[in-house]
Subunit: 527 residues, 2 copies
Amino acid sequence: MITGKNQLGNSLSNLGTKSFKTFNPQQNKENEWNFFEANETEIETALKLADRAFETFQKASGASRALFLNTIADEIEALDDVLITTYCAETGLPEGRAKGERGRTMGQLRSFAKLVEEGSWVKASIDTAIPERQPFPKIDIRKMMAPLGTVVVFGASNFPLAYSTAGGDTASAFAAGCPVVVKSHPMHAGTGELVAHAINIAAKKTNMPDGVFSNLNSSGIEVGQKLVNHPLTKAVGFTGSIQGGRALFDMASRRKEPIPVFAEMGSVNPVIILPQALQLKGEAWAKTYAGSITLGTGQFCTNPGLLFAIKHDSLENFTTVLSEELLKIDASCMLHPTIQSNYSKNKSEMMEQDGLSITADLKTNTPPNFAKQAVVKVSGEKFISNTKLHQEVFGPFSMIVSCKDEEELVKAIQSMEGQLTGTIISENGEVDNSSVLVNTLQSKVGRLIFNGVPTGVEVCPSMQHGGPYPASTDSRFTAVGIHAIDRWVRPISFQNWPNHLLPNALMNENPLKIERLINGELTKRAI
Amino acid sequence: MITGKNQLGNSLSNLGTKSFKTFNPQQNKENEWNFFEANETEIETALKLADRAFETFQKASGASRALFLNTIADEIEALDDVLITTYCAETGLPEGRAKGERGRTMGQLRSFAKLVEEGSWVKASIDTAIPERQPFPKIDIRKMMAPLGTVVVFGASNFPLAYSTAGGDTASAFAAGCPVVVKSHPMHAGTGELVAHAINIAAKKTNMPDGVFSNLNSSGIEVGQKLVNHPLTKAVGFTGSIQGGRALFDMASRRKEPIPVFAEMGSVNPVIILPQALQLKGEAWAKTYAGSITLGTGQFCTNPGLLFAIKHDSLENFTTVLSEELLKIDASCMLHPTIQSNYSKNKSEMMEQDGLSITADLKTNTPPNFAKQAVVKVSGEKFISNTKLHQEVFGPFSMIVSCKDEEELVKAIQSMEGQLTGTIISENGEVDNSSVLVNTLQSKVGRLIFNGVPTGVEVCPSMQHGGPYPASTDSRFTAVGIHAIDRWVRPISFQNWPNHLLPNALMNENPLKIERLINGELTKRAI
């Protein structure tokens, strides 16, 4: 069933000479399939097909785009066991995770379907004419959101389904009316191909134009570079490392026509445990955090990599319990040997930093590609003066930062770069007296969490997944939830435009029955 | 009354050694005032004050920010004649224009005041908890828009009031809760200082923090460069040339922490006159367009620089009438000798292009700094093959592009870069049969106009002022109308956050009585 070919609109293609295989980290061996890297002709074909598809796809009704999205979800479900098996063979992740992520992916597709079927997301705004206004008549003007054009989506290593081929970026781009060209992630090209095939079947079943979707294989960076630099590409979605995301952002910014890049990148997700919480519930939080740090082998962008507290006996106790609990958890497999070796390397480099003590570091023998979880501890002073300590170690690793007082804690938070999340653990209302600390944390993050863990990203309208740089390249948008659609659209105004030629969303009759801002009032009424 | 000093929060300062004067183009002589260019210390002070002011300003209620904005409008009005006189002395524009622009500026300030006083603009979204949900409980999560931080605003040469010191960028940034540092435009530094003073009085009267606003003089590019590169700057607003806007965008993109730049840049605003309109109403449109081309000495970003039509006798007639009418209009003064000399140079260079015929070029003697309006004509074929012809000639200049058929016309539009506006002139419903043409035009512009002129930008919610690059650096935002506030804010989520610590907009009780998205339903109800 897996051909290893590139999906160019409705056709499969393997014109290139370069090929690669994916790897099963649990079995520590290559998978059987051979993937053909897209060559220049195939990149060109995918983008030209997408550009042609845009002509009709941008005009497709919300109902038909919803049908397309729902059918993609159905076709992914129809892949059934083969998808789960392939997912596990290419990631080392357990079946439960594969099924959970598949559920989330289908949920995302269906939530965007619901959004565009309802239709109000286009933010229709109408200011009607006032011909008698002095000194100049007011002319009728109407505005709505329209898609940007072809979106290039980069698959993410750690979310083969929810942030890759038919993940949130693709679902939101389709919902907006943008064709999508996916640069498949080389670590799970088989999973990607299966999903790409499902999308293609859905596109054909729902009469979408050929080229609305393409899936390109690549093992290196060249395919991605060519896609981002191509004049037919109009926006980019990326989830991955700071280095990778920044490289794409720089490339896109240097184009003759710069294009928006939404890159969701690294984050260490600071957690602040306030004194009373530490004293009264320190052990319980230590157990909870041992679980959060190791969840998914620590391979979540919301993994809690930094735990801040004020120096106290109870912090010693918390450290001991966290370290013990962490070592009780079974080691688990990482996504790929490269990710495992990077983890080992980054962990070692971190542990060699001056003033750092190691409070937990799994020493037992583990199978190949498994991560040895670890916790380290450092003073607030050392943390503030050494920005190397601020960097993410992607994997089941966390650092306790022991600050001498609240002032140093505030300074430590202030010294950090932007983050996806920031968490406050508080007991007996002690947070009420920490407004400077909370404000400082708020200025650094996209999401504030109270008495919880940052892992687990609820897909709902109120979720902000993104944050000040380098958490993402543009903190004004989110990668998760319905508002992720805003990344791929621009407003367009129609002045004095004939009613019968207006898009349905802006017609007098309000045929879509959507919420519209009419002369400043939000209403569903017709004009 | 004009001191020539920089306004640093509540203080005036002239630490630098460089100074300059503004110029009265009507009288062809320098104005009396001496302006002190901001030096490095002053730039640093302005940004540090702004950053400190942000701590409180970002938390100020909508009502208090509205009072600030309305008071700025009042204080600008209170400047009365001295503002109008200074404006005219520094721009060569007539008193009527000065008063009109002042009215628009006050209207903008008051419309943002109204927006933030009402409060729903923060897009509050609430998803309440479902503790019993399987397999995982759903946690309460809430989201709203929060300000980015200090915004640097560049004054625009052609709108000393509406796009400069207290113009749309400043008004929208204040409304969002962002402190503003203005880099005053050197051509109207006196007008800028008067308005800056008005803003400062308003800030003091309404108890805004010191540093919420600063105004820096500069005659070159260094002050702007330092402002954009400074780590405390969080976003940039600019209106001006493609070269200038792109330079700022490049600088901001290369920063360690890239920041958003909204630059509204050049546009030639294509107008397509369909065959029947040309035949039946060609003369009337020729007269209308002669007025639009010369309005404000052609110094509007929405000036119609390109008129497209299909070759026909009626196009000859249109060309003749437009040329005659244009020459009947009195020549008028440009903003500055530099702008006038650039106009002359760009016009001459354009007129030397191969295959171009000059159908109107004012030859009479005019006072210094006046622009000699002109119309030229070229074939569609030449236009498509020579992108030099696509460039803006800032001033009262327009080019008629005569296409051999509709196919060539579509190709000509397709060959263009992004534009602020695109206009269709149609008669007897002929536009109904031009869907390819209209779609092509739509893909290039931010605003489509039917049977009208692009000059005249109505300030209302449905106005899109911005467009595909290079009309602006990010087509997803507008520089005009209430949605301009979206440029300066980012979403922030609060997960499981204690109700009494939430921002008012997200509290259960809905104390601000704003529209909120609660579990997917737009409502003003409390929880």
